[in-house]
């Protein structure tokens, strides 16, 4: 029964990946997490991820776009924070 254990293993990996997707993780993050917490080789994670992607193209496209959006938002937020920090620093300088 080599096949069924492979199949169930793969299913498990798929399950884990889906879990990561729920957390909106990226592929790399997912690989890392699975390796760390579930002892799954990154290459396996990556392969299953790719296959999932092939089977569910639209989902992953939307997912990727969403990720990109989030990344932009975070970037923007960081920039704003930075600006605020700088501004605050300047302010304190002036007070001197």
């Amino acid at each position: 029964m080599g096949e069924s254990s492979s199949a169930s293993y793969i299913r498990m990996v798929q399950h884990l990946i889906e879990q990561c997707l729920v957390f909106h993780m990226s592929k790399d993050e997912c690989m890392e997490a699975l390796a760390k917490h579930a002892d799954i080789k990154p290459v396996i994670t990556s392969t299953v991820w790719k296959e999932l992607e092939k089977e569910n193209k639209e989902f992953f496209q939307a997912y990727t776009m969403d990720q990109a959006e989030k990344a932009m938002e975070m970037e923007a937020a960081q920039r704003i924070q930075k600006m605020l920090a700088e501004w605050a620093a300047k302010d304190s300088e002036k007070e001197d």
Partner: protein, 423 residues
Amino acid sequence: MLAVESLRGSNGDDRDGTLGNFPVSDDFGDEAFLEDVDFGDLFMGIDDGDVLPDLELDPAEIFAAFSVGEEGSGKATAVEGAEGALGGDGATRDVVVLEKEMGEEEKGVKSHREEVVGATTSEDSMVMPSELRSESPDGDKGRKPSSPSATRGSQGKRKSKVDWTPELHRRFVQAVEQLGIDKAVPSRILELMGIDCLTRHNIASHLQKYRSHRKHLLAREAEAASWTRRRQMYPKKDVNPWLAPTIGFPPPPPPPAVRPFRPLHVWGHPTAEAHMWLRRPVPPSPSLPWAPQPPLPPPPDPSYWSHLYQRGGREGWVPHAMTQGTPCFPHPLPAARFPAPPPVPGIVPQPMYRPIPPPVTDHSSSQLQLDAHPSTESIDAAIGDVLAKPWLPLPLGLKSPSVDGVLVELQKRGVPKVPPACG
């Protein structure tokens, strides 16, 4: 409408002259294609099969329209699109067909179109089409049945009966969520969806149904949430799954934080649509792991539970309530598994076996962080859960790749055996 027609009529030529409407400048770069080819082909393909079964695609008319000023390539694809799409079986397929054809010729257009179709938030690509779209549906839909120059509309029929396929519905939900459920106005939804075959009326009625359904769902989820929370507050007592349902449901004053922890904007599109849309293909195959379900007693109201707990039942609304068929899954996990509710509050909407969910209180700040990045503990917990309970249904229910395919790929990469002997 006029805009559309004149667009059709004077494609390559004199757009700014005839199209008073378009704020877009007259550069005929990609944008020109976007408008010209895009809608026509998009329209034709979608128009054809399922989305609007009643609308007849009249190739002759379209060709006539196209030939007026259309670029040759556009026309060719239009033709192919019409013929290829006729008798098509699914809106998705049609779109795919279109995309393929267009892709052959105008890759740039294709990517535009996907953006457009996918209703992204890219403002640029939406500005133009939005104008077009908001005009066209009105004119075309059926309100002007007899106008021969209504090129876009080769639909002679008046009926605007829409077949809400899962794909279509998914797009609809995506658009609605993007706008915000309260702000989702049919015309804007139309724009976002970018499907010319829909009238505002179609959208409006669909929206109404959707809204009422959601209210219903949210109310139920609130109950469930409050019930779950209560369970956690009284650990020992309510662990008994038998009791749970009876305790929770009859009374429940919904907790103050009835956050729509499901749909709105928390999750953005993929989850929303993923669940909605992916749910359908989740087939009987998972029934195998579910069958055993030893520890689980059948809940009192199976359809209710499955409806409620499978992804918040948003899918249940999809015209085929397939949740009926799906078995309920283990509900009473949380107490056992998570000693302390992971700080993953509202972030964890879907995976049903995490009904731990919306523990409001002090998690609001951590919630913000989590939005950015899930904490290690929660990931660890989630992963551990999966490992421990393989019978659990897949949270997203993505279509599984073929095992052989995966194995082959793995072998190519030097992983001969799975599971690997040395982890």
